[in-house]
């Protein structure tokens, strides 16, 4: 078995039994990155030397009997998490060369538990995008390809496209991501791996470059549901540095993966049957419901009457928060400065932000500025906050009837670069099934469940009650067992 083929659970056991050392495991992944990253472009920054040193230190801790739960596990970190002493770009030119003097809470906890960081993963600029094509550091190649059109360059999804591609191509065993409107679940589905956005407040946002603060949540990617559960346990927990982080105990999520779904009520939202949905997605959804029924769950039709308004609501709330959060990039305290010799301060701000932000980020900042501006605040922003409240209420009412909800993760399989990315609104429709969970603050897990006729992976999505990731993991693991998804991308380490 090639070391890059391990699951995280399998690698933890192999390290514990001494079958492999952390240094060997890390070196195998460094070699995979050296071979694949020039093509895949999943990592913006590779920290190979630091990783090998960290792996040696990990072996030493294990020898002393001080192994943590992720001791020696090689991970990629989305380049939106501040990592002390390691460049953090947020996929933007405006942060090129930015070396954070502090570490995000999520990455601090992963290190505390023994994880080894191999690099910083590519992403859409400031996490704004669904294709990874808005990154100032180039697009990311999806490791999967179409059976009948193998030359087409498929996108990995976004915004956490580099994280998903790195895990799928076996350059790392797992990765961190963030999800504001679907940025973990959509790329997980496009790359044939698992990914979870936990409940809002489950993971600290401290040290994560902010996009839309009331929607942003960190979460893990891995190749199995159980591996996601293992990573999330390390990432989650109360942090006094984030006033929205939840002060409640972190359960053993991995244990929940073994729970039976017998007797669980699984909701099927009627509004998710959207016009123009590809037949293979409808088919996969029905298949997923059949699997859960066979495992003893009860399928219940439900209604989320305002779900159809989730996307336009998101595209008011998120840009509004972004326009405020991104005001800090002013060319004064950190990051890029663009100024002429005779620039005054205002000209310095305007030139810096025009040169440093890409077109999609500029668009969202301007939309956000407009919807918050005097005279339009009530018509757009306040209205969106009220519709958001209705969307959240729909889910609260659903939880009196069901324990979890099953839906598709995305309305299509991975698309090729240049397909449908000219019109911003068309690109936004990628998030149609994922964005409701962000607006309502709910946990959502994407599980690979099948292939489309072109041989591309498709994902199913499990949504759950606030802070009930355990049921979400139980349902996701049941689908994973039934789907027995064994297909592999053509581009991967050890292939």
């Amino acid at each position: 078995m090639h070391p890059t083929d391990f699951t995280i659970a399998g690698a933890v056991a192999a390290l514990e039994e001494g079958i492999i050392s952390a240094e060997e495991l890390t070196r195998a992944h460094v070699a995979a990155i050296e071979a694949l990253n020039p093509k895949v472009n999943a990592l913006i920054t590779v920290t190979a030397e630091q990783a090998v040193e960290a792996a040696k230190a990990s072996d030493a801790r294990r020898a002393r009997g001080e192994a943590g739960p992720l001791e020696g596990i090689p991970l990629a970190i989305k380049d939106l998490f501040c990592t002390e002493g390691v460049q953090t770009t947020a996929g933007s030119k405006i942060l090129e060369g930015f070396i954070p003097p502090y570490e995000s809470t999520v990455t601090t906890q992963l290190k505390r538990d023994g994880a080894v960081f191999l690099g910083k993963a590519n992403l859409d600029e400031f996490a704004m995008g669904s294709s990874n094509l808005t990154s100032a550091y180039g697009g990311v190649l999806n490791p999967w390809s179409r059976r009948n059109d193998p030359e087409a360059r498929l996108v990995p999804g976004g915004s956490s496209g580099g994280s998903a591609a790195a895990v799928a191509a076996r350059m790392v065993l797992g990765a961190t991501g963030t999800d504001t409107g679907g940025s973990i679940r959509q790329p997980a589905a496009f790359c044939g791996i698992a990914g979870i956005k936990p409940t809002y407040g489950r993971c600290s946002r401290f040290g994560i470059v902010a996009y839309a603060s009331s929607l942003d949540q960190a979460g893990p990617f891995a190749r199995t549901v159980e591996d996601c559960a293992i990573l999330l346990r390390s990432m989650a927990g109360f942090d006094p540095k984030d006033s929205t982080s939840a002060d409640r105990p972190v359960p053993d999520f991995a244990a929940a993966c073994g729970r039976s779904v017998k007797g669980l009520r699984i909701g099927v939202p009627r509004e998710y049957h959207i016009d123009g949905m590809p037949a293979e997605i409808e088919k996969l959804w029905r298949q997923g419901l059949d699997w859960l029924r066979e495992a003893g769950a009860e399928i219940v039709d439900i209604s989320l009457p305002h779900a159809g308004y989730a996307l336009p609501t998101y595209y008011i709330v998120a840009p509004a928060e972004a326009s405020s959060n991104l005001a800090r990039y002013d060319g004064v305290r950190f990051g890029l400065r663009a100024a002429e010799k005779d620039s005054d301060l205002r000209d310095l701000y305007e030139r810096t932000r025009a040169a440093g932000f890409g077109p999609e980020v500029r668009r969202r900042i301007m939309i956000g500025t407009y919807v918050l501006s005097a005279g339009y605040y009530d018509a757009y922003y306040l209205k969106a906050q009220k519709v958001r409240a209705l969307i959240a209420r729909d889910f609260r009412e659903a939880w009196s009837k069901v324990d979890a909800i099953l839906a598709p993760a995305t309305p299509s399989a991975a698309f090729a670069e240049g397909e449908g990315s000219d019109d911003p609104v068309q690109m936004y429709l990628n998030d149609v099934f994922t964005v409701t969970a962000n607006l309502a603050g709910l946990p959502g897990l994407s599980v690979p469940a099948g292939l489309d006729p072109q041989g591309l992976p498709l994902g199913l999505q499990v949504l759950g009650r606030p802070f009930d990731e355990e049921t979400v993991f139980a349902v996701g693991a049941a689908i994973e067992r039934a789907a027995d998804f064994k297909a592999l991308p053509g581009m991967r380490a050890g292939a």
């Binding site: 501006s373 906050q385 519709v387």
Partner: protein, 98 residues
């Protein structure tokens, strides 16, 4: 509601993003495309609905209060480490006061 070119310029100025003259028409088209699409929210009846301001699911947790004490500080070197321009322990900017 459709933005005219003057409003597009005003929004860019409020956002402190320099907009070249030749970009105005394209940006106007893009912004109007997005705003036209989000206009559909006006069809939702929100009478008497309290706006949802944060991301925390309702009824889950109240924002905690912490003791009002200084917990951090005295890190000028770290704070200034990424500055594009600095003079001593200050960020450097173009002259603001004549």
């Amino acid at each position: 509601m459709s933005l005219d070119t003057a409003t597009v310029r005003r929004v860019a100025a409020l956002a402190r993003i320099r907009l070249e003259e030749e970009e105005v028409a394209r940006v106007q088209g893009e912004l109007n495309g997005i705003l036209g699409w989000i206009e559909q929210l006006q069809a939702v009846n929100t009478d008497g609905v309290e706006p949802m301001a944060g991301g925390t699911p309702e009824g889950i947790a109240a924002m905690p209060l912490r003791d009002d004490v200084v917990t951090d500080g005295g890190q000028a070197a770290k704070v200034l480490a990424n500055a594009p321009d600095r003079e001593g322990e200050y960020f450097g900017v173009p002259k603001v006061v004549e």
